[in-house]
């Protein structure tokens, strides 16, 4: 009986270890798989041509991703512009100023927000944001716009990254030891001065890490953005122009993927691009956050 127990323990240990190792390999497998499928297109085009040209002629085997890349950057930029200040202010408020009652009320609401599926943000974007831009905002600035624009994508995206930013920022602020705040306050500084000079400075690397994570989340968001961005491949000249971010490119064209030669390879290359950037950003960001946590425990 005893031997069996011990044997069981040893076997399970080996089995679990194998499972863990295999799962870690998933990252590698995804990267390799996508790369493998991208090889055909890489053979026909140099990397710089793919990234910087705007010629999109699948039948000529020309794939210039430039407009798509720029489109992604534009909406991510707008989203960050909106979300960062708001999230920072809210996180500081909840972490440093708000009474417990308010924290208990607001934090679950933000968690609820993070649980809402992207498609619903997309529907909301179509119902509310597009008319808002088309009828109320844009007329002040431009002649004509359909409303399906960089700005729409940016707004929808910013709401989607609020919860992520806020939760990471709050975790970072929690990591700053109370003694540091006390030291500042006891020197006569006001709470706000303490926040400005002590909290934010101490958390600066963490804030950067949070932003990097939020950016990588924004890069990868597909459905919500696809529904409001216009899906028009051009380099946008204003926020009211339509754009065509990378994930939307993949999602919209999967149907044609198999019929046009090299198209599937192009889409897989897109996925590979996203994958590489996002993995890089995530790795750097997580390591920074890990270091922060370690240094305060």
């Amino acid at each position: 009986m005893k031997k069996y127990r011990l044997l069981k323990d040893k076997l399970l240990s080996k089995a679990f270890l194998t499972l863990t190792l295999l799962s870690i390999l998933i990252v590698v497998m995804v990267g390799v798989g996508l790369y493998y499928k991208s090889i055909p297109i890489l053979e026909k085009n140099t990397l710089s041509k793919l990234l910087f040209s705007s010629e999109w002629k699948p039948f000529n085997e020309q794939f210039g991703f430039y407009p798509y890349i720029i489109g992604t950057l534009w909406i991510t930029g707008i989203a960050l512009l909106i979300a960062l200040p708001l999230s920072l202010l809210t996180a500081i408020f909840l972490s440093e100023y708000a009474p417990l009652r308010i924290r208990k009320l607001v934090i679950p609401l933000i968690e609820l927000l993070s649980g809402i599926p992207p498609i619903i943000f997309g529907v909301w974007g179509v119902l509310v944001v597009i008319p808002l831009i088309q009828d109320h905002i844009a007329p002040h600035f431009v002649e004509f716009t359909t409303g399906y624009s960089v700005l729409a994508g940016g707004i929808v995206l910013s709401i989607m990254i609020f919860p992520l930013l806020i939760s990471i920022l709050m975790e970072i602020f929690d990591n700053v030891p109370q003694e540091l705040r006390d030291a500042s306050l006891s020197l006569g500084a006001t709470k706000w001065q303490t926040v400005k000079k002590v909290l934010l400075r101490k958390s600066s690397s963490g804030i950067i890490a949070a932003v990097v994570l939020a950016v990588s989340r924004a890069f990868g968001e597909t459905i919500a953005v696809l529904m409001v961005c216009g899906n028009f491949a051009q380099v946008p000249h204003s926020v009211f122009d339509s754009c065509y971010p990378l994930p939307a490119l993949i999602a919209n064209n999967y149907g044609e993927m198999m019929s046009i030669p090299l198209y599937d390879s192009a889409l897989m290359f897109t996925a590979l691009l996203l994958f590489v950037i996002i993995v890089l950003f995530n790795t750097v960001s997580r390591i920074i956050l890990f270091r922060i946590e370690k240094s305060t425990t």
Binding site: S13, V30, I92, L109, T190, Q193, T222, M268, R286
Partner: protein, 279 residues
């Protein structure tokens, strides 16, 4: 002078908090006011009849059931994989070793990979294995998506269990596996919350199933048949030029939103309830 600055920022902070919390209500309000009107019993109890997409009768039962199948399947599969992993890094491996840190980092990275990438990868696997779009392909791809979510959340729950709980088992001459069982028992609340969380994520995701599960008007009866999902059902109906169909999309959105809200609230309630019995 500093007082003025402080007060300005205080006001700004409250305003931004209000903005953020009100977006939740704004979104819910919009969805419900637009979609509730078109929601009726037919919608949730019937599959699309002929001409559904040009305005004729039927409902979205195909999508509801399809989504449930995929989500249940992937959650089950995901648990089967993630629980052993969490047990390994918390009970068998040495704590805070390079191995456990790298494992956690890897899952943090996998967590950040967007569903479209998992979808594209799932698609390549599908093609490689000669499969067509199917329930199985959808389940496997969504499983990939939720494994990191499960691992992270269950790991959080297990890490909170004091190590003396394990010591008590070892002191009685127990093996690591026996200690693991006790630790899992102790973290039941956290595990249930993790399951609900990943369930919510899985059911609402479109990009993952776009290439892999396909779409169909019927309810799949085997793993090899394509399956409809709620997010895709919404998406396709919304792109229709016919107002009736668009309204149905809004109704479907309400259905999805309700499901997700119920899951989120349930997660909160469960975690509160079960953690009352903890030490």
């Amino acid at each position: 002078m500093r007082k003025i600055e402080e007060n300005i920022f205080k006001v700004l902070m409250v305003i931004s908090t209000l903005i953020i919390t009100s977006t939740l209500f704004l979104i819910l309000y919009t969805i419900f006011s637009k979609g509730l009107g078109s929601l009726n019993w037919d919608m949730v109890s019937k599959i699309p009849e002929g001409g559904f997409y040009i305005g004729k009768g039927g409902g979205i039962l195909n999508a509801i059931i399809g989504s449930i199948y995929i989500t249940l399947g992937s959650t089950l599969l995901g648990l089967l994989i993630s629980i052993p992993i969490v047990i390994y890094i918390n009970v068998y491996a040495t704590k805070n070793s390079l191995f456990t840190n790298i494992t956690r980092l890897t899952f943090d990275i996998l967590f950040g990979i967007p569903s479209i990438v998992y979808g594209a990868f799932g698609f390549t696997i599908m093609v490689y294995m000669g499969m067509k779009t199917s329930l199985l392909a959808g389940i496997v791809t969504v499983t990939l998506l939720i494994i990191p979510i499960l691992v992270r959340a269950i790991d959080e729950a297990v890490r909170v269990v004091p190590e003396e709980m394990g010591h008590a088992v070892y002191a009685l001459g127990g093996t690591r596996w026996e200690a693991a069982k006790i630790i899992l028992r102790q973290s039941t609340a956290g595990i249930v919350t993790a399951i609900l969380l990943s369930f919510g994520r899985a059911i609402g995701d479109a990009a993952c199933v776009l290439f892999t599960a396909g779409f169909t008007d019927s309810i799949p009866t085997s793993l090899n048949q394509p399956a409809a999902t709620l997010p895709l059902s919404i998406f396709f109906q919304l792109s229709s030029p016919i107002p009736e169909v668009q309204n149905r999309a809004y109704a479907a959105t309400v259905v999805l939103t309700l499901i997700v809200l119920v899951i989120s609230v349930a997660a909160k309630v469960v975690s509160k309830k079960l953690s009352k019995n903890k030490i």
